[in-house]
Symmetry: C2
């Protein structure tokens, strides 16, 4: 086995250690599970969710795994596909900036489907999701920015490997079987950024989750693949513009990249969030704003600096319009704030014209810096999404987001995830997902 | 729509014209269907067929489409996956050298699954398979040698687009829906040559067929994808080392690349076939052979010039050993000729040592040239697999191959495919596939 395969195979099956770091990582995973389930339930009515669910239900089959928004269970791979697409439908799920993608939506649906089909416990599911998400982040870093810039979507590609790791752990594959699963994943993993802005983007999360389930159970049943599939001369990495950054796997199992995951607290492009966090505490009066200059990493200029947005969807990708909403006191956390009407509201359009956006490559992708001239004088502010957040603060904010999305259902969801002191209650969680 | 998408969408739905060329193409398709069904039925006992079939049967579901070797029908995507992998398991199916891959195994399983689920006729199936295979060959040429050399497997990648076209035609998608299906296919199509020599290779055919079915029915149900998915700046072609050879689509619908498909008449690597065809008619006596020099296109030297093969599988990729088998009068058409024992048979090893293989890039990939010294003097021979073959000769040879693989079943299979003068009898064909 290569060093990369070796590292991933060992990590797949290693027991979690008793360190404080690992305990914190598991707690972060629990919060990501809450966040994932919240946005998944809230997304069950989206078109991509309905289409994949309708097709899956028409196929039917062994009732092995819960499907979000569907009373009857379906086979594992079908459930993984639908739940992946459904949970990414709102694009309101977690992000890891170094992974360059959305880890939970690719991995959790795979872990959940296998755990339910194999009758495993909620805490086994949580641990497998943690291992899978950590693996997907590391593979994403190993593939690197070159992979993303060439046109691949790490949510789909690196996500498939994370889903494979989670499924392999839960199915109890041995080391050779795990290597075969990763090899088969290498020839199935796919997903292109050119689908952004269409249903193809959330579908990628479903593809990744489904691939993880399919390849793990194929290996479990004796499937033989090539051990050179991932990092061999014509393996997935080299053929998909992967950087092959071997440092990506340093500290696997003791240091946790999941600690630097970002949760979305606003229902718009993640690139706008640092600006919102910097701007919100200033409590500016709209009538006093003269000029707002913001600096951001240049990468975002092609992503979320849309001028004169015409729809609610386009507003989500417009620095100026989102800044105007914050100054005007609109709730950027609420899904229904981003209507088509808001795009052409005269007061917001006037405020947006006072915003100037500048790229600055001295900033990281998680930073924003503001210089604001008001009739009371100049103010400055900055924010970095990568700044550590107390776990209690994060939990409070995520539970508030969950309540905003789900209402009274949110408390039942948290009770299922926290359990009665003994961790995730899988049957309660899956029941809430089915009721979505 | 781009020119490429436009050409594919129009081709998907155009009625077949009444020309002699199109009638010949359809007859070629009928022979490829016979060949596909023969190798598929013969491959039903292979490990990759058993694994995918077992997993599909454990999922169960709506009995919509026939699965080779399975009494009960399964959902369309499941059937497409299993039947693709099963029909490529023996690697004895047809090849198109300019496409650089195996068209039938990716496209026919998709067409068959959709036709059965939508209750269409055998001749509609045959026409859709023809259109799909022609599209897959054209996309393979459009992607070109650079795609293959970089590490991608056209059977899987171009094959998925062909399967999509066949499925879209049979489902009756409109032009926009077909474009969305092709867009979604662009972000799902995958498959790497690094899986060659493992179960991953036949699995590729199943992936392609399944993708075609999945994306066509998603588009049918309203799925929206990006129109830039295939040939846009970060579409499938540009991100997968595609050459973008626009001439690939010239004459679509009037000239048929399927006419230059190659059928395998020997149960070993296609790269050895021109040599076998050149050598067989000479009827050499083993004891008179002094030296056999063969020239082949250099591409094949890394594929089928294995020295001192140790297994029956390795013999299939050894020019010298296969030449020795022909000289010794062994039947290279029979699957069971390629045993592990034959690899170490002393008489064959001695003959193999008299064979010398030389690369010559003045030859095409379908040619072989022989210079043979015998105790009676020097003989020369050559063969080009691309040389035209009379349709009657091809039919006779394919029916003989089918009989060698299936025995008495072969005549029933041909009767189902020829029909009683009115074309393919789908119910008879699928019954024979289920009984495999």
């Amino acid at each position: 086995m290569s060093d990369v395969i070796d590292a991933l195979v060992n990590f797949t099956h290693a027991p979690l250690d008793e360190s404080a770091e690992t305990a914190q990582a598991l707690e972060m995973m629990r919060l990501s599970l809450l966040d994932w389930a919240s946005v998944a339930i809230a997304g069950a009515g989206e078109p991509v969710a309905k289409i994949t669910r309708t097709l899956g239900m028409s196929d039917g089959g062994t009732p092995a795994a819960t499907v979000i928004g569907c009373a009857t269970r379906l086979p594992m791979p079908t459930a993984a596909l639908i739940n992946g697409a459904t949970s990414h439908a709102l694009d309101y799920d977690d992000t890891h900036f170094a992974h360059i993608g959305h880890p939970s939506v690719a991995v959790i649906p795979a872990a959940l489907a296998v755990a339910e089909a194999f009758d495993l416990s909620g805490e086994q599911t949580l641990q497998a999701a943690l291992i899978g998400i950590e693996a997907s982040i590391r593979v994403g870093i190993w593939l690197g920015r070159a992979h993303y810039q060439t046109g691949f979507h790490q949510t789909a590609t690196a996500g498939a490997f994370g889903a494979t790791v989670a499924a392999a752990r839960l199915m109890g594959l041995d080391a050779d079987q795990t290597a075969h699963a990763l090899g088969l994943c290498s020839t199935r993993a796919a997903g292109l950024k050119s689908q952004f802005g269409t249903m193809g983007k959330p579908y990628h999360a479903g593809m990744a989750a489904q691939t993880g389930v399919e390849v793990a159970r194929a290996a479990h049943a004796g499937f033989i693949s090539s051990p050179h599939g991932l990092d061999g001369a014509q393996g997935f990495g080299p053929t998909h513009a992967g950087e092959g950054n071997i440092h990506a796997f340093a500290g696997l199992g003791t240091m946790w990249k999941i600690q630097t995951i970002s949760h979305k607290f606003h229902a718009c492009c993640h690139g706008t969030h640092a600006m919102i966090e910097a701007l919100s505490p200033l409590m500016l009066s709209p009538e006093k704003l003269v000029r707002l200059q913001m600096e951001t990493h240049p990468r975002w200029l092609s992503v979320c600096n849309k001028n004169a947005p015409r729809t609610g969807l386009e507003v989500k990708f417009s620095y100026a319009h989102v800044a105007a909403m914050v100054v005007a006191g609109q709730d950027t956390a609420a899904l229904d704030s981003f209507t088509d009407e808001i795009a052409t509201a005269p007061a917001l359009m006037a405020l947006a014209q006072k915003v100037e956006v500048v790229g600055n490559d001295a900033l990281s992708e998680t930073e924003a810096r503001l210089v604001i001239d008001t009739t009371d004088g100049r103010k400055q502010a900055q924010f970095d999404l990568a700044a550590p957040m107390e776990i209690d603060t994060r939990r409070r904010k995520l539970r508030a987001k969950s309540r905003a999305l789900l209402g009274a259902q949110a408390d039942r969801l948290w009770a299922a995830i926290e359990g009665r002191g003994d961790g995730v209650e899988l049957s309660s969680l899956t029941r809430l997902l089915r009721l979505a």
